[in-house]
Amino acid sequence: MGTLTYLAVLAGCLACALWLEPVLRVGVLRQWRRLALTLGPVAAGFLAWDVAAVAAGHWWFDEEQVVGVWLPGGLPLEEVLFFLVIPLCAILGFEAVRRVLARRGAATGPSGRRGTR
């Protein structure tokens, strides 16, 4: 897979989660503003940690397995995408679980009350 390894992993994550949007109608992408306001601060925080960790030598990236676009702080482009893709997948999964539980009317928590429709 060479230089596309990291990118392929991210694409695989997206492929596993994105179908939830149309099939379960979780409406995550439709709420793009809420999504942006979530991903922005979270990505910023974790990227700061990432830069600090690279600077401290805790971890580093294999030049052979990334596309080769490097950003300030010693991060490959894929690492920034990681903090957009993974949180997005997590939100899609979370909303899908909520949707399914609500539909079944099985939940008793606050989220379950939503399932009365």
Binding site: V9, G12, R34, W60, P87, G93, R98, G109, R113, T116
Partner: protein, 154 residues
């Protein structure tokens, strides 16, 4: 500071954000844990490739040593902190809009205004509605939770 310490601090920070900072309290409910269980499977797969194939490499001095699915055990804490923080912020932003906080937990209010497209676009997305009603704590506690109390006995 090693990755081990940093990952532990990140988990503590994520829990503090969820329980105290944003008061979303996701870790006290089951929706989060069910979601996390599913996400964890994919995390182990993705991270297994990234760490296992050496896309990301770790300083042995910065980690404890044990590996789970090819990745340092610290990555589990890292992933947990990332997922919890994300879902807490996401949930917090959802609660403070849509008029959900305004009409609170009443079934009628939620199904009619909260979920309808119309209600959302008119109440939820308007700046006015959001700042005046949605985000005020007062409104939330006065309207939202009192209705909850009322609707419970039925």
């Amino acid at each position: 500071m090693t990755y081990t310490v940093a990952a532990g601090l990140a988990v503590a920070a994520a829990l503090a954000i969820d329980l105290v900072g944003l008061r979303t309290r996701l870790v006290l409910g089951r929706v989060f844990w069910l979601s996390y269980a599913i996400i964890l499977v994919f995390q182990l797969l993705a991270n297994g490739v990234l760490a296992g194939r050496g896309v990301v490499r770790y300083d042995p001095a910065a980690i404890l040593g044990p590996r789970v699915a090819g990745a340092p055990i610290e990555d589990l804490a890292y992933g947990f902190a990332l997922v919890l923080t994300t879902l807490a912020v996401w949930s917090r932003l959802g609660r403070s809009r849509l008029g959900q906080s305004r009409l609170g937990h009443s079934r009628l209010g939620r199904s009619r205004l909260g979920r309808s497209r119309l209600g959302r676009s008119r109440l939820g997305r308007s700046r006015l509605g959001r700042s005046r009603l949605g985000q005020s704590r007062l409104g939330q506690s006065r309207l939202g939770q009192s209705r909850l109390g009322q609707s419970r006995p039925e």
